[in-house]
Symmetry: C2
Subunit: 294 residues, 2 copies
């Protein structure tokens, strides 16, 4: 790990870190906000905190984004400083000249969809690098575990936006023991049923392998999940992707059938942009903080 940049921010530190990912076989960068130590300690949020370990809110970004969008436009830092939480923002796909790509914004670099690709062609060998599920589940947190940042990698909340909302929901519903709390901004909840998901899953998982698709579909995963805590979702009612790509009511119905508490907040007038995210980020951080206090 190498610290690329460090900026004082909201009483804490916003870092950008790069490392060589063994899972993705490329160099990756991520953002990490560290709250002020003295605040975190004086608040004594949790047992881990007494030894100085800081819980983590993992934020997965949407199509075309890197670590930078939420770090500069999401304004999570003030709330994370207040609650004594670290804010971790990975990239959205493997990167680099040696990594397969596409001219489309919704396929290839910037569009990893938080899955492990099994397909590819000689020209676009997706399965070689596109393993964002394993990167998030197995590599990112364990890389940080061995760092000097004193992060509580066993107390992690997860959230995300759009494609990253899909990532947060599917990662947490599949591995409910890994995450203490779960929320999303305008997530793709049923990728198997919408154009963004169908295009990506066809390329990465194969057009015919519909069973594999269901492993990455929140509406399908919710049927057999062990997740039993309340989920919070904010969705703007003026979101330009609401009907075609997002369809949160499908997830609401699936949660209701399963008996999972879902706070689906339809936010009047809001769209899909970071103006929407910055408006409700503090409430998401507070939602996670309440559960990360352990």
């Amino acid at each position: 790990m190498e610290i690329v940049s460090e900026n004082a921010c909201c009483g804490g530190r916003q870092l950008v870190i790069k490392h060589q990912s063994l899972v993705l076989q490329c160099e990756m960068s991520f953002g990490l906000f560290l709250p002020p130590r003295i605040n975190a300690q004086s608040r004594g949020l949790a047992a881990g905190r007494e030894q100085g370990f800081i819980p983590i809110l993992l934020y997965l970004s949407g199509l075309t984004c890197t670590w930078e969008n939420v770090a500069t436009k999401g304004f999570a830092q003030a709330a994370c400083a207040e609650h004594g939480i670290a804010f971790l923002s990975p990239d959205t796909s493997p990167r680099g000249a040696g990594v397969a790509d596409s001219d489309d914004y919704d396929l290839g670099q910037g569009a990893g969809f938080y899955l492990d690709a099994t397909q590819g062609t000689a020209e676009k060998p997706w399965s070689k690098n596109f393993r964002m599920r394993s990167y998030i589940e197995q590599e990112l947190l364990s890389t940080l575990e061995s760092s000097d940042f004193a992060l509580a990698t066993d107390r992690v909340g997860i959230c995300g936006h759009s494609m990253g909302g899909h990532g947060a929901l599917t990662l947490a519903l599949r591995s409910s023991e890994r995450y203490q709390s779960l929320s999303a901004f305008a997530p793709i909840v049923a990728p198997s049923q919408v154009p963004w998901g169908q295009k990506a899953f066809s390329a990465y998982l194969g057009e015919q392998n519909k069973d594999a698709w269901l492993e990455y579909d929140a509406c399908a995963l919710v049927k057999n999940t062990l997740w039993n805590k309340k989920i919070m979702i904010d969705q703007g009612d003026k979101d330009q992707y609401l009907e075609q790509q997002l369809r949160p009511h499908l997830f609401a119905e699936a949660c209701e059938r399963k008996g999972i508490a879902l706070d689906l907040r339809l936010q009047r007038g809001y769209d899909h942009s970071y103006y929407f995210i910055m408006s409700f980020m503090a409430e998401h951080v507070a939602f996670h903080a309440a559960q990360l206090k352990g």
Copy 2:
């Protein structure tokens, strides 16, 4: 005026507006955040508010910026929504193919320095378009006065960052009756004495016209200003431009000689970036709100 975009944000609305500037002889865009009406009214901040008029915080951006940097990265919207204040972010220079420019980031488009240029060459006729002082003083607010936004264009606070901090200080010190409150982030306080200012003033005002330079130099203007309210300045002590370009102690000494109250807050560990600005923006908005309540 034409509304280019409108996004719901923090309970209010973030607008981008374009208009044909007669002063600058080009099309200009600016950002305007409007706080939620109901909050503004229920708080009853001031007499004007009872008729629904909203005070304005005018924010002048730094080198290379447009309206967009502070609108997406400054996070003024939450505090402005809370206090019932509109947030106005103009561009930093005239723009367009027909406007003189330079390959340097600190001269030409994106580097208007909030002055009226008097010089130029056949190739770079700065004085034709570069009249940001007159644009801010005479055109921008009066354009908004005739709008439907119900803005109190006679209750205006002014602030800015770096080159925009220079703009805020010089505009307010020269015309103390126009602005109710004044603050800055990491301002250029003595442009006549530092490389950024010397380069710009030489091009726009003439290398020999040192008297003209003093009209745009906060440290010089403070000697004869009628400004008599407290000024707030935040300055990071890790700012990469602190010693060479900013030198806030020169302004502190000038204010002390004049008997003007200056709250110069040296912020430990902070640099020149928007991570610094977002960290203290809410305090600046509160500082202005207290004086705009009128």
